[in-house]
Symmetry: D2
Subunit: 275 residues, 4 copies
């Protein structure tokens, strides 16, 4: 268990695997924590030294009640963590909130990033996504865990997957409902959601030159394919992949594809062929 | 203003246009009423005699507090209305809840239906869609109109449309928030939502022989394209169209396409050509 | 049988239906003639006065051996035909070569056009499509009808349709092979193909303000969906529809959708609703 | 340079990389040879011992003039090569003809295959694809290299890629035209094309249990997305990925994605997570 102290606050992080391997940072989606990646760690550690970290208000990092902040706080803190760990070049993969943070990080500190992989990400927070987030926050304030579960969880899975795994989902519901009734968790979720409202890197994309792999899930109802289409059309060195039948929580719906894509993209060299 | 009385209850309906023209029934989505179609009526009346009606718990039809019912009540009532109006053959178009009702009606009373057009519809209520509906109902019980708006409205539009029309959406929000705080409305919405939970016509589709036009909106996050793909693969005489960039409330996002599709499909004869 | 004489040449055209109905011009794909639309005429005449015409080098219009020309010749001749028929406003639908001609016509003579509907069309002839056309022409010069059939016909149908209708296709092959061995036909086809090489209306699209309905067939391998995506993103008043499972010869693969779309789009008025 | 002798004929193969690494066989598309993979070899050798081979009638393997054969000859020969090399378990990736051969191999000799990756493949040769192949063969018999190029090359690239890389394509045309005029090459191509006509593994797919990664290119006009949709719906342990904007020769259009997908999929272990 590792703690990075900054400005009197704590960032929880975990650095696993052999330091001789290529470095890979994984950035959490909004409800996730370093623990969410445990199922993938054995696989990823085979080829990478993996850095996981909880953003402020996530997992075991410091909660920031009463504070209002933006992605910038998370990104600047991530850079400070890299400096603290003497990392001057790293691969970054992020999903959703973490994908957006990864992209914003690359726009601000491109020299630190070798390659970038964005699952279920977007270039900015539209009014549509902001209003959906407002709905989550208003639901959170009721402290009704069942309500929060019903509005926040089904939409992050594809209809097909949720239907097929319904027994597992019902088990998840039992686990999540008390968490989703917890004021500390819910208030942190609200701050995280609010922190994403001003997110907008559209004007910065033109300066990105590093290779960026963009992953769309065709059944993603929160950051739909149109969002990644925009990214792919506005990033020079973009590579775009779609996952048919998969929803927003793409790494859980198809773990084999998730670990394959990460492992392949961050391992291979550029091919000279072409053009 | 027309009322059809049945079993001591009232169904509000409106029959507009020239009786010499082909008959067309339009069935409401769950939050809609006969008034929701007003913008399209001048156009549709040019070629059809149009029947609109409010299902029980919608608009000006009788509210059913304390009752639990399924689509069957709505469908059987629709048939009774047709009989009352001496309609023995009619075209039917429905959207979402109304599309599912239209499809269930055709499965049960195929002889009454000339052609069928389904916007944003599905063959059954998955656990995924049921849980989303549960979320709406739990939100409704808070009587918090802002919460209800935020969880029920953005998701029925495409991200692009909502973003582009944000001022109009903010105006809608002002109009809808008091309605969405109204216990009578919210309790009716809950009963309607519950009435759709058992909806499942999968086993009946094989017996449909009439022409069915199925319309998908590619950005529909409530009844995604996969749902209509299933319909198109399991209905013999199915014809399938996709609307790129459009969300669940497809008729509002592209009224010209909406009225064009209806007008064309219900007017034209079969083409002899083929095969 | 009607002939329009212009500059010593003849344009064959047919004007059918009641002059009191809205006027509709249908423009042929490259291998088509006025006869190709016969299966749809009874349906279309119910709501429109329909003008069909053969471009130069098509059907019964004058062949132009030894001449090199572009779309402009066809378009200017179409305008002359409209003037001759005292048509100053008309709806136009075109497919493929005819869709491109329709679009080029609207860019040049927008005042003549009420609404425009483009099946399987594109904004310009890419090097890719030009080279495919070159392949047709080189095949044509062999006068081997079987070769010409095999390279020109399967690709205009979806794999699914061709496979399902294979007996009908084998019958078509018998009919078409002698035609595809005929030097007069093949030389005309070569001139038509060459006439499309310089087609490029990209710079003109921004001035179009009339309503344009764009129809994509998802299995179209000659003018793929990307081409219509470009049109839909660069025409102000564009409306876009996709036909799943359908190939380049979309009107033959789904005649009911074809006639429905035309009939609806050119009949309905704009809806006031919105925004 | 390695030769495997079998029944008086020769199979040319190349085995590169460290024998301690996982084994990977790459199977050629119809016009390809072991040399076609050279641009990717440095990358792939980093993580795999790579086996390339030319099927009969390809590259440096024996030509079979006067013989008629099916995929089975190629597959059984591949198995004999594995036995000769004492390979009893291997990963296989194939594209197009080679993907179909890989799939047929796995259906017949599943025990030999660890994982399978299919680029631009299909479950059977439809009448549509057969007729397209007939067109290639009729064109080949003219010995006109320009004709063969125009009908066989543009269609294997996406319209966008071909247009953007047109200068490189013109250079390819110069290189390929003499090859496409060579009777020995063209006759071999005809036999290879004919060998694929009877390909049909639909009835065998249900017995596959190994992990199969299926890659679609959205702009593939020869083995369109519908073909891989069928595979993904009929193979138990299927994983499906789509490449937007990419055509049939997917590895050339996006080499970074190609090498990433192969490297990742064949390196990673299964993830325990789930369900």
């Amino acid at each position: 268990m590792s703690i990075f102290k900054i400005n009197g606050k704590e960032i929880f992080y975990e650095l696993d695997g052999d330091a001789s391997k290529p470095k890979l940072a994984i950035l959490n989606g909004i409800m996730m924590s370093t623990r969410s990646w445990v199922p993938f760690m054995n696989t990823l550690k085979e080829n990478f030294q993996v850095l996981r970290m909880d953003f402020f208000d996530q997992g075991q990092s410091t909660k920031l009640p009463g504070e209002t902040y933006t992605h910038d706080l998370q990104i600047d803190t991530l850079k400070a963590l890299f400096d603290y760990l003497k990392i001057d070049k790293i691969n970054i993969v992020g999903i959703s909130y973490g994908g957006n943070a990864a992209l914003a990080f690359a726009c601000k500190y491109q020299n630190y990033v070798n390659r970038l992989m964005l699952f279920n990400s977007t270039a900015y927070t539209t009014a549509w996504l902001k209003d959906i987030g407002d709905g989550w926050n208003l639901a959170g304030r009721t402290r009704n865990g069942s309500l929060y579960y019903k509005i926040a969880i089904p939409v992050i899975y594809s209809e097909t997957y949720y239907q097929e795994k319904i027994e597992w989902m019902r088990a998840r519901e039992k686990v999540l409902t008390p968490i989703f009734s917890n004021p500390t968790f819910l208030d942190a979720m609200e701050r995280l959601t609010v922190s994403a409202e001003a997110y907008d890197v559209r004007a910065l994309l033109k300066d990105l030159t590093l290779p960026v792999m963009i992953i769309s899930a065709e059944q993603d109802t929160l950051t739909p394919v149109m969002d990644q289409k925009y990214l792919s059309e506005n990033i020079k060195n973009a590579h775009w992949i779609k996952l048919p039948g998969v929803g927003h929580a793409s790494m859980y719906e198809n773990p084999l594809i998730f670990t394959s894509l990460i492992t392949g993209f961050f391992l291979v060299k550029d091919t000279d062929y072409i053009i």
